[in-house]
Symmetry: C2
Subunit: 325 residues, 2 copies
C-alpha cells in the first residue's frame, strides 16, 4: 500500500508541484521554493481558516473535505468583498494515510481553488494523527470593504440565500435524522459537502459601497446576526430565510436548522432601506437577490424573533471547544 | 480548572483581540472581523508553516513553541529577502488545554511577531487532540528575491552562521545525549528553543541583488545544499561550518549534527566569487559575516565532502512522514 510514509515528503511535494502548478503573471516565485513571491497593489483581504477532520463520516470523501476547506475560507473573503487570488495551504495527515487519499484531498482543493479563481502558490505538509487543512487566502478588494461592525438603527438585515439545507445535510450524515424525500436528502448532502462561497455576491456588495456590515453564516444565522449587532443594538427578525424544500418538515426542527444550524456560508449584512432598490437591481444583474429578514434597532444586543408572540432568541450555534450549546 | 472547554471560543477570541491587537496604518481591518484587510504595494513573500506538537518534552514550554513556530516561518521569508509585515495564525488545541497554557503559547507568538516586526491581523482556533500552530506571513521585498534554483558552476556556497548547537539542543531534550559542559548544554537548549530567523541578513542579501539562490537549513545543511544544486550540479564542501563550542565533542557526532541535524534556520546561499568582497562588506555593516563552505560545480546532484578522502554524502535530514533516515 502506498502510504505517505512509504512515498516520503519529497515525492509528495514533487507530485504537488507538478499537479497544482503556480501560474499567473504576478506570481514571481511559486510552489517549490521556501516562500512564494507575488506582486500586489491595492487593498487585500488576508484570511486563514482550518478544517480539522475529527471523524471521517460515511458518505464524505477527502475530495469533499478539500473543497469545503477552501470554500469556507473563500466565504470569509466574500464578507469583505474580496476576490480570492492567491492561496497557501497547510495539510496535516497521518503517515499511514494512503497517497491516493492525499491526492483525493488535493483534487478537492484544486477544484475549489479553480472555482473561486485562486492560485496555489505555496504550502506545507506535516504529520498529525488527524487530517486537517489550513487554507490561507489573499484576495483583492476593488470596491469598499465591510467589517462586522457598522450596523445602524433602522438598517435592514438581509441574507444572500435560503437557509437550512446544509445543516440538514450534516444531520443526515451524523444519522441524527431520517429523511424520506430522496430529493431533499440528496440536495442537503450535496449542499453540505460542496458549499458555494458567495464570492461574486460579495464583490457586488463591495462595488455598491453602501453596505454597513457583513459576515457569513458558517457558525449559525443567530451568531451572524449577533456579530452584526454587537451589544448596543437589537435585531428584530420578521421572517426566517427558510429553504422551501424544508416546508414539509417539522416546524420546530426547521426553525432550529435555520437559526442555529450553521454550515451555510451565506452572507448576512445590513444596509439602509433607501438603498434597497439599487441593491436588488445590482444583484439581479448577476442572477441573484437579497432576502430581507428583519431590521436593526437601538437596544442591547438582543435578537427578537417575531411570531404570534415575539421572543428573544440566543446566539447559539457552532463554537470551538464546546459541544453545540 | 479554566480549560478551553470551560472558557469557550468567544471569550478566548475576546482575550486575543485585546492582548494581540492589530495596529498599523495599512491595517484597514484587523482582528475580530471575518477577514483582515490590508493595503499592499510591491513584491511580497507569502508563506505558511505549521508546527505540530507531537509530544511535550520536559524543559519545553508552550511559550517556546509559539516563538519557534513564528520564527520558522519568518526564516522562510528571509530566504527570499522579505521583511515580515503581516501574520495570520491558526491554532489547534484540545478542549482540555488550560486557558493559561494557550495564553502562554500566544505570549511566545506575540514576542516572536514583535521580534520579527510583524503584526497579527487575523487567526483561527480549532479543536484537535494535538496542539499545532500554523503561521502565515506576508513580507515585503524591497530588493531582489531568490528562489532555490539559480546556482551556477563555480559559485561559492556560504552559510549565515555556525551549525550544530540547535540539533544538539534537541538531542539533549530527547535525552539521546549527555553533555557535561553546562555552558554548552544551556546554549544548545536556548538556541533550539528560541531560534533567531535571519530576517535582517536576508534583507541585506536581497538589497545586494547578486545572490544566485538561497534556502534555509531547517531540514538539515545537507538537504539545503541538495535543494540549491538540484540534479544538474554538484557541491564540493571544503569546510563544515561547525560551531566552536562543539570542538570538544566526538568528531563523528559533530559531523552528523552539522550536516544532518537541521533546526538551525541559518541561510544557505550561492553567489559568484567576484561578489564576495561586496557581500562581506555589506554583512559586516550589520555586524555579521558569511561562512564560505564550498563551491558549486557541474555534475549530477552529488554532495562531495572533502577530507583526507573525498566522499559523497547523502541529502539526509528531516523529512515529514518518515523517521530520520
Amino acid at each position: 500500500m502506498q502510504t505517505l510514509e512509504k512515498i516520503g515528503e519529497e515525492k509528495i511535494v514533487q507530485w504537488l508541484i507538478k499537479n497544482i502548478p503556480s501560474h499567473g503573471s504576478n506570481v514571481l516565485l511559486g510552489n517549490g521554493h521556501d516562500a512564494a513571491v507575488i506582486r500586489l497593489k491595492g487593498k487585500y483581504a488576508f484570511k486563514t481558516d482550518t478544517l480539522v477532520v475529527t471523524k471521517m463520516l460515511n458518505g464524505v470523501s477527502l475530495e469533499d473535505l478539500g473543497w469545503k476547506a477552501v470554500c469556507a475560507c473563500a466565504s470569509d473573503l466574500a464578507t469583505v468583498g474580496a476576490k480570492p487570488l492567491y492561496s497557501t495551504i497547510s495539510v496535516c495527515a497521518p503517515r499511514t494515510l494512503l497517497f491516493k487519499e492525499l491526492k483525493s484531498l488535493f483534487y478537492g482543493i484544486k477544484q475549489a481553488l479553480s472555482h473561486i479563481g485562486a492560485v496555489l502558490v505555496g504550502g506545507d505538509l506535516s504529520e498529525n494523527p488527524l487530517i486537517s487543512v489550513s487554507v490561507n487566502l489573499l484576495g483583492e478588494i476593488s470596491g469598499k470593504y465591510y467589517g462586522r461592525t457598522g450596523s445602524k438603527p433602522g438598517d435592514l438585515i438581509a441574507v444572500s440565500r435560503e437557509f437550512g439545507l446544509e445543516p440538514l445535510g450534516l444531520k443526515i450524515l451524523l444519522k441524527e435524522i431520517d429523511i424520506t424525500s430522496e430529493k431533499l436528502q440528496k440536495r442537503s448532502l450535496h449542499d453540505f459537502l460542496r458549499p458555494l462561497p458567495e464570492v461574486d455576491y460579495g464583490v457586488v456588495l463591495g462595488k455598491l459601497g453602501f453596505i454597513h456590515s457583513c459576515t457569513d453564516s458558517s457558525d449559525s444565522l443567530a451568531i451572524s446576526i449577533k456579530n452584526l449587532i454587537g451589544s448596543q443594538l437589537d435585531a428584530v427578525i420578521e421572517r426566517l430565510p427558510t429553504h422551501p424544500l424544508l416546508y414539509t418538515l417539522d416546524k420546530k426542527l426547521v426553525e432550529n436548522l435555520v437559526l442555529y444550524g450553521g454550515e451555510e456560508y451565506a452572507l448576512v449584512f445590513t444596509y439602509d432601506e433607501k438603498d434597497d432598490k439599487r441593491l436588488k437591481r445590482a444583484l439581479n444583474k448577476i442572477g441573484r437577490d437579497r432576502i430581507i429578514i428583519g431590521r436593526v434597532k437601538e437596544g442591547s444586543g438582543k435578537i427578537l424573533l417575531k411570531g404570534k408572540k415575539t421572543r428573544v432568541i440566543k446566539a447559539r450555534g457552532w463554537r470551538q471547544f464546546q459541544s453545540k450549546s
